[in-house]
Symmetry: C2
Subunit: 138 residues, 2 copies
C-alpha cells in the first residue's frame, strides 16, 4: 500500500512540510503531478494526518513544559476524556497502560499556571507531574 517512493516523499515532507510538489519531485526524481497525486492519496487514506509547525514555546511566553500522569478515579474516565479537549494547556493526551491511565503533555507559562492546571485536574484523578528540563532528541 505504501511503497518506497511514498516513503521517500514522506521523508522529505518530515524534513520540510512546505516543500512544493515540484521540489519534492526534483529530490526524488518524479514529475510534479505524480508527486501531487501520491501526496493527495496519502492525505485521503490518512497516512498523512496533518501538516503542522513546531513552535518555540519559551519565545511565546510559555516557559514550562511538563508531562502529567493521571490515575483517573473510578467512573470518571469518560467525563475526563470529554473535558480534555477544552483545556488549551494540554498539547497531547494519550491513554496508556500502567498504574496511571492518562498521559498528558502540557504547555504552561510558569509554576502558578501549573498549579492552576493541577487544581483543575484534581477532581478527575491523582496526578503525577514530570517537568521537562530539555529536549534531547538532537
Amino acid at each position: 500500500m505504501i511503497d518506497h517512493i511514498d516513503n521517500a516523499i514522506l521523508k522529505e515532507l518530515q524534513k520540510d512540510a512546505r516543500l512544493s510538489f515540484a521540489e519534492v519531485g526534483r529530490k526524488i526524481k518524479l514529475s510534479p503531478s505524480a508527486v501531487r497525486e501520491r501526496i493527495l492519496k496519502m492525505e485521503d487514506t490518512g497516512v498523512i494526518k496533518k501538516y503542522g509547525i513546531e513552535v518555540d514555546y519559551p519565545q511565546l511566553g510559555y516557559d514550562l513544559e511538563a508531562f502529567i500522569l493521571v490515575k483517573v478515579f473510578h467512573g470518571k474516565l469518560k467525563l475526563f476524556l470529554n473535558v480534555i479537549p477544552s483545556i488549551p494547556e494540554i498539547e497531547k493526551a494519550y491513554r496508556i497502560t500502567g498504574n496511571q491511565n492518562i498521559h498528558l503533555k502540557v504547555i504552561l507559562k510558569n509554576q502558578l499556571h501549573l498549579q492552576q492546571l493541577i487544581d483543575k485536574l484534581m477532581p478527575f484523578g491523582d496526578t503525577h507531574t514530570l517537568l521537562i528540563l530539555s529536549d534531547v532528541s538532537s
Copy 2:
C-alpha cells in the same frame, strides 16, 4: 517581539502548515509579502522551529507506540545522550525531573521490536515502559 498578527499567523500554520502566504494573508487580511516577511522572520528567530507532518504509524507498519522512562545509571548520562540520536525508534527524548531522568517516545513495529529496543537501552539505565493505547487529544 511577537504581536497578535504573528500569533494569528502561527495559529493558521498550526492548523495547516502548507497554506500559501497568500491564503494566510486572506484569512488575516494582510498582503502576501507581509505574511511572507513575518513568517521568514519567525523562522530566523527560531519561533517557528520546523514544518512537519503527522503520520499514521499503524498504516506504515508500526503498530506499537510507547513511552519509556529511563532511570539512567550514574555516570552514563552523557554516553546515553550521545546514543539517543542513533536510535531511529526514538521519536522524541526529553530530560525530566523525578525518579527517572529521561522520557522517550518510541515508535515500534510489534512487541518483539519493543523487546529489542529495551535490550538496547538496558546498558544505560533501568527502564519503565508505558504502552500507548490511543490518542485522546481529540
